[in-house]
């Protein structure tokens, strides 16, 4: 793997839209060509070179790793639509990181803002800090969101994460979120997504779930009234094959959507 290093040289006054920072866009380009790639700073068209010092070299998509240094908490859309390669972000990052990506790996060594991994079609997004709302969710007006790939958040995720997630058994696509804790409406309108939470969650988990698997290893503030207790289990097999052991209460839901449902919610028994 070859590395392209980007170091932020001045803090943007307004959010910087950096959808051009992807291995796909850097592949096969010289450093000068990379520096000239356009970014938007509010309504001003600028270049990568205006805001970043660029060094290293790029190769083909799969072998290009981009390392970003400096405080990019106000930089949005990094990694948008990438299909391969790697991005490592050594700080907090702005909204929409890794959205619509279908391959490759992004590692955020800090917090991520809202919409991280939105519309994910594949690949891996890892966030070592906390993440905002709508993680792995569908964009406004879309009724199919994350359809494949894995998102790992060590800390918390906000509301409505994994909104409209959709899995496919024939295609063996199991969109999955692992997180430390979650706010409300995790798995809203779920159509097959898998969510595993190491800690606690708030309310309305699995709201409008049609099918899917949500596992809560901590506590839940309130289970929706439309979820019905089935039994207690000691082992859960996730659709992607992984096995989780421990004592869990198994619920079916969301019964506000249908009388019979394949949707499942597991809450740890302490």
């Amino acid at each position: 793997m070859v590395e392209v290093k980007l170091k932020l040289k001045k803090k943007p006054k307004f959010p910087l839209e950096a959808d051009n920072i992807t291995p796909d866009n850097f592949a096969g380009k010289t450093l000068n060509e990379i520096k000239k790639l356009p970014l938007y700073h509010a309504k001003e068209l600028v270049t990568i070179g205006d805001f970043f010092d660029v060094s290293g070299k790029a190769e083909d998509v799969a072998n290009t790793k981009i390392i970003i240094d400096g405080d990019v908490s106000n930089v949005k859309r990094i990694g948008e639509k990438m299909t391969g390669g790697e991005i490592i972000i050594n700080s907090d990052v702005g909204m929409h990181v890794g959205n619509t990506m279908s391959g490759g790996k992004i590692l955020v060594k800090g917090n991520a803002d809202d919409w991280a991994g939105a519309m994910l079609q594949g690949g891996e997004l890892e966030i070592q800090g906390n993440a905002g709302h709508y993680i792995g969710s569908a964009y406004r007006g879309f009724w199919q969101g994350m359809q494949n790939g894995v998102i790992r958040v060590k800390g918390s995720v906000g509301n409505e994460s994994m909104l409209w997630a959709k899995s496919s058994k024939p295609a063996n696509k199991w969109p999955t979120l692992y997180c430390g804790s979650a706010s409300s409406f995790l798995g809203l309108h779920n159509h097959g997504g898998t969510m595993v939470v190491e800690g606690d969650v708030d309310r309305c988990i699995g709201a409008d779930q049609v099918r899917g698997t949500i596992v809560i290893k901590g506590t839940i503030s309130r289970i929706l009234p439309s979820f019905k207790k089935i039994d207690d289990v000691t082992e859960i097999t996730l659709p992607n094959g992984e096995v989780i052991t421990g004592k869990f209460a198994q619920y079916s839901g969301d019964h506000s959507v249908s009388k019979e449902t394949a949707g499942r919610l597991y809450i740890a028994i302490k």
């Binding site: 809202d114 709508y134 906000g158 509301n159």
Partner: protein, 131 residues
């Protein structure tokens, strides 16, 4: 005297609507929107007469308003401030990523401030403008 563990709701009232059309900088507006409405029994615990200024505090700010007793009760544990400059000092600006602040449902506490001066809209909003 004070009360805590209350929930603050905000919203329109017909008086507030009439006052805002009549002039947002008038005294009528203060009497229509610079108020906090209490449940009858909750108000007894405050041990003061209706109209006494009270300080309402939430996680997001504090504001001085005139106290009144509700005509829309009983609603123990709930207080109501009409929408406007006064309620907006204490509402939750967080939109949870959806764009609309959470104007209703904040946890609040209330204490009497007998000689408190309830500001009119212009003065109150003026405090948000730095020198």
């Amino acid at each position: 005297m004070s009360l805590k563990d209350l929930i603050l709701l905000t919203g329109r009232t017909i008086n507030q609507g009439v006052a805002l059309e009549g002039g947002k900088t008038t005294k009528e507006n203060v009497r229509a929107a610079g108020i906090c409405t209490f449940d009858k029994d909750d108000f007894k615990k405050l041990d003061c007469i209706a109209g006494t200024p009270v300080k309402v505090t939430t996680d997001h700010g504090e504001v001085l308003v005139y106290s009144t007793i509700t005509e829309e009760g009983p609603h123990p544990g709930i207080i109501f401030i009409p929408m406007g400059p006064w309620s907006n000092q204490v509402v939750n600006p967080d939109t949870q990523g959806c764009g609309t602040p959470t104007f209703k449902g904040m946890k609040a506490k209330v204490e009497i401030v007998k000689d408190g001066r309830v500001l009119d809209a212009i003065e109150l909003i003026g405090k948000l403008k730095e020198a």
